[in-house]
């Protein structure tokens, strides 16, 4: 369907932010200071890997004629189950690191803050991994081309050729060649126009903006995630102090879910989050428009109809249909009037 192509960028970005966060937590949990021996903990990797693999295989084995909604529910069930394990593991390991402080009756708030700062740093690194917010122009340009291979393919291929030629020719010769003639011939000449080149530069600028917005958005998300977890740990300590107990892993998860949703809601209501989300949407939209402009310039070169032209044709058809509809109404009213007059 048409929308699938349209919304890929937006959903991919949001989805990846969540996935990266979740994956990061799995890794962070394993690195966290812990008094437990992992092999003796409830999270013995063999046990978890086996169950994860069993579920994964089950999903793979789902019949082709299984209802798509059921298939998606199974996949979400799998993700949820994995998340629970990671959450538990993380909670227990952080708890383990706080234990000596709690047992000594020292200020656990400070220790918790220290732990959470470490978690925040790790989470942020993971959440923004792969984003391109700094680097030389050439590094960013390469990353941009790799990120947009569909319409940047000619440039990307050309860059590869350029690199190979450069290595063979020696720096001085290569530079002389490149500055005098090479820049012309290494462009994809069959497609090149100044308009397309300009379009690529504008798309690149929009892509850099989007990377920055995505970084800022992920920072807020990861901070919120950590704040939620800190609140959760805080709640657990309060429970311990009051002598209350959670009766099951499910109880613990329910408490996490309530705390986390509330923390996220509080964050989502802030001006900072709304600004970051707004900027992310705006930059994704701007990048998409720039991409389209480049694509449409290619389409023009090959005398192919563009999205804009088709949209315009649809608009004209829409307006004509509306006029016809209105005329039909007026005609019906006139007929009714005439019939009424005759009778």
């Amino acid at each position: 369907m048409d929308w699938q192509a349209q919304n890929t960028a937006l959903l991919k970005i949001w989805g990846e932010a969540q996935t990266q966060m979740l994956d990061a937590w799995g890794r962070i949990a394993q690195q966290a200071q812990s008094p437990f021996n992992r092999n003796n903990s409830p999270f013995s990797s063999a046990m978890l890997d086996a169950s994860t693999e069993a579920i994964r295989q089950g999903i793979r084995a789902m019949a082709f004629d299984a209802d798509p909604t059921a298939r998606e529910a199974a996949e979400k069930l799998f993700i949820s189950q994995t998340s629970v394990v990671r959450l538990l593991e993380m909670s227990l390991r952080i708890w383990g690191s706080l234990l000596p402080v709690l047992q000594a009756g020292s200020d656990w708030r400070y220790a918790l803050r220290e732990q959470m700062n470490w978690v925040k740093t790790q989470t942020l690194q993971a959440a923004t991994h792969g984003l391109h917010t700094s680097g030389t122009y050439q590094q960013l340009w390469s990353a941009f081309l790799e990120d947009s291979q569909t319409f940047g393919k000619p440039w990307l291929d050309d860059k590869d050729k350029t690199t190979q030629n450069g290595a063979a020719g020696g720096d001085m010769v290569w530079e002389a060649y490149q500055k005098t003639f090479g820049e012309l011939v290494t462009l994809p000449t069959s497609l090149w126009t100044r308009e397309i080149d300009d379009g690529m530069r504008l798309a690149f600028a929009a892509w850099v903006d989007m990377q920055q917005a995505l970084y800022d958005y992920n920072v807020i998300l990861s901070e919120t995630w950590c704040a939620a977890f800190e609140q959760f740990m805080f709640d657990l300590i309060r429970l311990m102090e009051s002598g209350e107990m959670l009766e099951s892993v499910r109880d613990m998860l329910n408490r996490w879910s309530a705390v986390a949703d509330n923390s996220f809601k509080q964050s989502f209501l802030t001006e900072g989050y709304i600004r970051a989300q707004s900027r992310l949407v705006q930059t994704v939209i701007a990048y998409r428009q720039r991409q389209r402009q480049v694509n449409e310039r290619f389409m023009h070169m090959f005398d192919l109809p563009t999205r804009t032209e088709i949209d315009e044709a649809h608009r004209r058809i829409y307006e004509l249909r509306k006029e016809v509809r209105e005329l039909k109404r007026e005609l019906a009213a006139i007929k009714a009037q005439l019939n009424g007059g005759q009778s």
């Binding site: 048409d2 699938q4 919304n7 937006l10 959903l11 949001w14 903990s41 409830p42 046990m47 978890l48 169950s51 579920i55 089950g58 084995a61 789902m62 299984a66 209802d67 909604t69 059921a70 298939r71 998606e72 529910a73 199974a74 979400k76 069930l77 799998f78 993700i79 949820s80 189950q81 629970v84 538990l88 227990l92 708890w95 234990l99 047992q103 657990l236 311990m240 209350e244 107990m245 959670l246 099951s248 892993v249 879910s257 986390a260 949703d261 809601k265 709304i274 600004r275 989300q277 949407v281 705006q282 939209i285 998409r288 428009q289 389209r292 999205r307 949209d311 608009r315 058809i317 509809r325």
Partner: protein
């Protein structure tokens, strides 16, 4: 026992619970793999298409009494979801409940807008399709008025329509309708740009870039309002009920509905976000549909306003604001202690909602014998 950790389970017990959870997840996946589309059929109440225009279809549900209450009830649903949530399955069907209570029920199905529908405006939906459906009913049934029931965004449409065409509407029912979008505590409102300051989205630019607004984007926004409850906990709860076939198929029907989100016709969506959310135009009397100003004070017919007390999509205050905005001297507000979705699927609401609507209408209409 993990020292001091406030979980009354030993490491072994935790491991056992996790293993049990995994076992159930494996079984759950196996059970889900057996589900075929026909097992989770929805919208099963018999109905007949009586009018069709472009992507819009007007259905009549087969009446269950010889003399259904007249005038009939026309239901308008939101554009952002499919209307079968009000007829999900036999024991969770608002439509079925209304038919049992002797009502004559019609429903507008807005269809799935395609790319070529991106230019459709609110004028087309309200003064076009909705009006044509009403006129079709008035003409074919030879009546002068109908009862209009608008749900969620459909409630906003029905308010606009009733204000523009008060003579055609005998009684108006709105359900979980966002009337004042600038009330506090509305996260969705904020995200839709109703922040009273600089709008957080530019709907026109989004439409310019995307054409229609993908249903998946809308859906993702809804899920992000409660990411853990809706994205994680919900599926783990499924583990507890997979043995109960009726429960799990009900779950899957709801899942199907939640993710069956039509794309939004671009122009209409941008207008809706701009004028109803960012500008809060409905309550301020600033909305214009097809060049006609929507003045809620022109709503003089009896109004039943139904809202959900725990609605996180349409805060109760947003719906309740209707009372002070209309001129009707016969206004009734009814609330249920559920969330937005609970209005359709809560067993308790399903028992109480149809009679609430039917009794309210019966006090204001009379049955006729269709022979």
């Amino acid at each position: 026992m993990i020292p001091e950790f406030p979980l009354a389970l030993s490491s072994e017990q935790i491991a056992n619970e996790l293993v049990e959870m995994s076992r159930r997840a494996v079984e759950g996946v196996r059970a889900l793999s057996q589900v075929r589309s026909e097992d989770i059929a929805y919208g099963i109440t018999p109905k007949t298409a009586v009018y069709h225009d472009d992507l819009v279809t007007l259905y009549r549900y087969t009446p269950r009494v010889a003399a259904p209450l007249q005038p009939p009830v026309l239901i308008t649903y939101a554009l952002v979801n499919r209307p079968y949530m009000i007829d999900l399955q036999e024991d969770r069907s608002l439509v079925s409940g209304l038919l049992d209570l002797g009502l004559d029920v019609y429903l507008i199905d807005w269809g799935y807008p395609q790319r070529n529908d991106r230019w459709l405006t609110l004028d087309d939906y309200i003064n076009g399709y909705l009006n044509d459906c009403v006129d079709h009913l008035l003409g074919s049934l030879k009546i002068e008025q109908i009862n209009l029931l608008g749900i969620c965004q459909g409630g906003v449409f029905s308010l606009c329509y009733a204000a523009l065409n008060p003579s055609k509407i005998a009684n108006l029912i709105t359900m979980v309708a966002p009337v004042d979008t600038h009330v506090p505590d509305g996260l969705l409102n904020l995200w839709m740009g109703a922040n009273g300051g600089k709008p957080s989205i530019d709907p026109e630019k989004m439409v310019e870039a995307l054409g229609n607004i993908p249903g998946d984007v809308m859906n993702f926004g809804f899920l992000m309002l409660k990411p853990f409850e809706l994205g994680l906990q919900k599926y783990l709860s499924l583990l507890d009920t997979l043995d109960d076939s009726a429960h799990s198929t009900n779950f899957l029907r709801m899942e199907k509905w939640i993710f069956d989100s039509p794309d939004q016709a671009g122009a209409a969506w941008a207008e809706f976000v701009r004028h109803f959310y960012i500008e809060n135009g409905l309550i301020r009397g600033e909305i214009e549909i097809g060049g006609q100003r929507v003045d809620l004070k022109k709503i003089i017919m009896p109004v039943l306003n139904i809202y959900a007390e725990k609605d996180h999509l349409v805060p109760p205050a947003s719906s309740k604001a209707l009372e002070g905005a209309i001129s009707s001297s016969d206004y009734t507000a009814v609330s249920f202690p559920v969330g937005h979705i609970g209005m359709y699927v809560s067993a308790r609401v399903q028992k109480q909602l149809p009679p609430t609507i039917a009794d309210w209408l019966k006090a204001r209409c009379s049955p006729i014998n269709l022979g």
